[in-house]
Amino acid sequence: MATPVKMNRIGLEPQIYKGGKTTLCAGCGHNAISERIIDAFYEMGIDPKQVIKLSGIGCSSKSPAYFLGGSHGFNAVHGRMPSVGTGALLANHKLIAIGISGDGDTGAIGIGQFVHLMRRNLPIVYIIEDNGCYGLTKGQFSPTADLGSKLKTGVVNDLPPIDTCALAIELGATFVGRSFSGDKKQLLSLLKAALAHRGTVMLDVISPCVTFNDHEGSTKSYAYAKEHDDPVEDVTFVPYFEDISVDYEPGSTQEVTMHDGSKLYLKKLEEDYDPTDKLIAIRRLHETARRGEFATGLIYIEPDRDDFLTLLNVVDEPLATLPLDRVRPGREALEEIMEGLR
């Protein structure tokens, strides 16, 4: 007797959510992130045909080829994925967009587009696979490398890092988190919550580069990440379509209702942390960084702000496929314009 086929809520098997075989190094943190992305889309029951995968250039940006093989993907130019994603969503606001970038692709060449993507609160899940170095060009420092972090060659980074989470919060992203590629549970919860959020999700995922930045003296190595991970809360995500109630002692957990009715239960690990408060969030990031650690979890969330596509107030149908009679004004319109010019 055949084993019953495992399927998600829209009747698709896990296999559908897989992508091509990875060409990244064995043990690369990015591969673990791809696996969590596969899990998250499967568990959320999202149709891959409605998903677009976007990326810039670098090791991280290759990874969209390794998940959701049935989705359209666009491997754009270095640091400019946000604009391509913006355009695609303008064309069809029903698409679900996931963008994969790296710390160089975002923090260096792409910092301009990153800044404006965050400002616009475009509905996209933007993930930085953050290893503090340029893997594809053999290990140069990137702008997220910590002060004093050391390259294999012994070169020490003497410039302060860009904290992409603090920057994203400051600029207007409405869902900002940090995680570690080795933390399956936290990363999966954050990704699922990210897919339920309507607005810009910025997830910085520490993802060690096993080839160029996993040694003693690096602050982005597996060992360092494991030892210095400082979660701000314990995240439980319950999607709207699952009838699960979470019991908790009053005062011990913060409950956040998301745009689609899904719920986030954030079990407090410290009394005064509140991820809906910008100032507290930014303060916590700075304090943790000062200790040489990194704060993980859902750092900041603003569940209700209008996203960019809502602000544009476009018609309900995708602009891309509007028929001729919706996009070409009639003869009388042209005649009226001409008359005004006579």
């Binding site: 091509g20 891959p48 045909k49 409605q50 998903v51 677009i52 995968k53 976007l54 969209p64 080829a65 049935g70 989705s71 359209h72 993907g73 666009f74 491997n75 754009a76 130019v77 400019r80 946000p82 604009s83 391509v84 994603g85 913006t86 355009g87 695609a88 969503l89 303008l90 064309a91 069809n92 029903k94 698409l95 301009g112 587009q113 800044v115 404006h116 544009l312 107030n313 476009v314 018609v315 309900d316 995708p318 602009l319 891309a320 496929t321 509007l322 001729l324 919706r326 996009v327 070409r328 004004p329 003869r331 319109a333 042209l334 005649e335 314009i337 001409m338 010019l341 006579r342």
Partner: protein, 628 residues
């Protein structure tokens, strides 16, 4: 006015000067930001309403207020609408430039000037009309704060009297210009009348220039090229617009926004379009590529510096084969300097924009009508060929007002190109994103959300199936197919307009706004020196096959361009045989002002061995040196 001025003027007036009817140029020199644009438009429109063919060109500084600006209006009974090099009638309102403006006039020209400037002593071979503008404006405009603006509406009134424009007609033009601003109409109409009355009371007509009604402008519109292109984009069904402000292209997107808000918003207030002011030109093109990839008709508009920034993305779009429509309203070179002056300087840059082997389609409109039609062609071709299409306008075309026939409503439905359908998929069996099913180099594409097979879009490294590949044979196969596609495009881009004169040994090749000066120059050559010419007006790149035939049919071919480096000629050399190349000569114009017929004629005559008497006291002083 001082009585001595009149005395001098009467002595200077050329006795027996022939009347010059409907064939002269007016130049108005004012200070930027002083409201003269409205006055100039009233003057321009009045002449149009008289039925006389007219054109207007603004030569303005890169400045919001304070620097000198010139506006030239040309009335031409023969319908010439290129810039006329010589100024026949000067309105000198700007103290800073008045002296030089007067010194560079041709003998016999007329000058209306602000009396305190005391210009009449400068020359004794001109006709001077001093006007005490400040005195005249006071009773018309009690509000002292508005006087600086209203003062400029007096000179159209003066000119109405001196040139013979019916004041009622001018008031009609004023109403058209100011629309529903009733108070402003009253105030400015009073200023017009004050000017008219003053001229009537104080001047006798001395200069030979006058206007008489004709019937050559019935139904004509006045429109800027940027506006015309915007209307074309709307009619083409554009849905996504991403742009970054840059002179001289900004008004293209701004007019488009205006029209779309009026004609492309549903009753419930929802728009059938999205416009984003991006963070820079790189992001603008990125958004256009993303939107086109996802199936929208998307466009951006920019100028040369923006094109430079778009280089990398243009290459990606070429290789990834996403449509994109890019308007380049060309202007003079980089950064600070002459961003408000016209040029045709981006041809070479765009032909091969980006890295690796890239070539791009260019459409080159010469007129506002073609801005309108080619905007629509651009969307069709971009989707048909799944590649960026550049519409090569220039500042002269984009930002100046041109007389034109009303635009025709498009009759053809829009063609979205080779979008895969379920039926087509069944017919071709296995789909590959870059598979040349039809042999024309153009593959079928799918778009996200259409439910058809997906693909992963990348730059150079893919095989016919759209899979990642670094194989030499896959790369070569793909590059050769892209070449086939480009070759196919030769048959679909707008064809040249060729006027072959069997008697002509001389052929002209020109494009864009040079067209009007070229047509006029051909008339000058025929009428003044009996030199016959043929004319090949190029309208697109890649070239169509008839270029070589045109060169063959003539002994000497002058390629007329508004740039220094003979950019079109360089492109032509890449395709023409050495024998044909030898026939090519350049006529170049690159001083920031629109090209004029006389410059072409003089240059060609000199090359043809005629003794051209350089009449040039005709340097136009539309420019400033020093001081910012």
């Amino acid at each position: 006015m001082s009585p001595t001025d009149l005395a001098v003027q009467q002595q200077q007036a050329r006795s027996g000067a022939q009347r010059v009817v409907n064939d002269f140029s007016i130049q108005v020199a004012t200070v930027n930001g002083s409201g003269s644009q409205t006055a100039n438009m009233v003057l321009l429109r009045s002449i149009l309403l008289m039925g006389v063919p007219v054109s207007g060109k603004n030569m303005f500084p890169s400045n919001i207020a304070g620097l000198p600006t010139w506006y030239t209006i040309r009335a031409s009974k023969r319908g010439y609408i290129a810039r006329k090099k010589e100024v026949d009638f000067l309105v000198a309102m700007n103290a800073e430039t008045a002296k030089e403006d007067v010194l560079t006039l041709e003998p016999g020209a007329a000058v209306v000037y602000d009396e305190p400037l005391k210009l009449s002593a400068l020359r004794n071979d001109l006709v001077f009309y001093p006007v005490p503008f400040d005195t005249l404006v006071k009773p018309v405009c009690p509000d002292a704060k508005l006087r600086r603006l209203v003062k400029n509406m007096i000179y159209p009134g003066i000119l109405a009297k001196l040139l013979g424009i019916d004041l009622a007609l001018m008031e009609k033009a004023l109403g058209k210009q100011l629309g529903k601003k009733a108070k402003a109409v009253v105030l400015n109409a009073a200023a017009l009348k004050a000017g008219f009355d003053y001229a009537e009371a104080n001047f006798t007509k001395q200069a030979p220039y006058s206007l008489e009604a004709m019937n050559e402008t019935a139904g004509k519109i006045l429109i800027e090229g940027n506006q015309a292109a915007a209307i074309g984009c709307m009619m083409a069904g554009v849905t996504v617009v991403a742009w970054y402000p840059i002179t001289p292209s900004s008004s293209l997107c701004e007019s488009l926004i205006g029209y779309m808000k009026k004609y492309r918003v549903d009753k419930d207030g929802k728009a059938t379009f999205a416009v984003v002011q991006a963070e820079d030109e790189i992001a603008s093109l990125g958004m256009v590529i993303g939107a086109s990839w996802a199936g929208a008709r998307a466009m951006t508009a920019t100028a040369g510096p923006g094109i430079s920034l778009m280089g990398e993305f243009a290459g990606l779009a070429y290789y990834a084969e996403t449509p994109a429509v890019i308007f380049d309203v060309q202007r003079v070179g980089p950064s600070t300097g002459l961003p408000t002056r016209t040029a045709q300087g981006d041809l070479l840059q765009i032909a091969f924009l980006s890295h690796g082997d890239t070539k791009h389609l260019m459409l080159i409109p010469c007129s506002v009508e073609e801005c309108y039609t080619m905007a629509q062609d651009a969307f069709e071709l971009a989707e048909q060929f799944q590649t960026p299409v550049f519409v090569m306008m220039d500042l002269d075309l984009g930002m100046n007002n041109w007389m034109a026939d009303g635009f025709k409503y498009p009759t053809a439905p829009i063609n979205r190109g080779k979008l895969l359908t379920k039926a087509k998929l069944a017919e071709i069996g296995e789909w590959g994103r870059y598979k040349d099913v039809d042999g024309d180099g153009i593959a079928y594409r799918t778009i996200p959300g259409d439910g058809l097979p997906a693909s992963f879009t990348r730059g150079s490294g893919h095989n016919a199936k759209g899979q990642y590949s670094e194989r030499p044979d896959d790369y070569v196969e793909n590059m050769d197919r892209l070449n086939r596609k480009f070759a196919t495009a030769r048959r679909f881009v707008p064809k040249p307009v060729v006027q072959t004169n069997p008697k002509a040994k001389v052929g002209f090749v020109g494009y864009g706004t040079s067209h009007f000066a070229i047509e006029e120059s051909r008339d000058q050559l025929r009428e003044e020196t009996k030199v016959e010419t043929s004319y090949f007006r190029l309208r697109a790149y890649p070239f169509t096959d008839d270029l070589a035939a045109f060169v063959d049919a003539h002994e000497r071919v002058y390629v007329i361009e508004q740039n220094r480096d003979a950019q079109l000629l360089q492109l032509m050399k890449l395709e023409l045989t050495p024998d044909r190349q030898k026939k090519l000569q350049s006529v170049l114009h690159y001083n920031g002002l629109p090209i004029d017929a006389r410059s072409i004629t003089d240059e060609v005559l000199a090359r043809e061995g005629f003794d051209v008497a350089k009449k040039t006291a005709t340097r136009m002083s539309a420019g400033t040196a020093g001081g910012e």
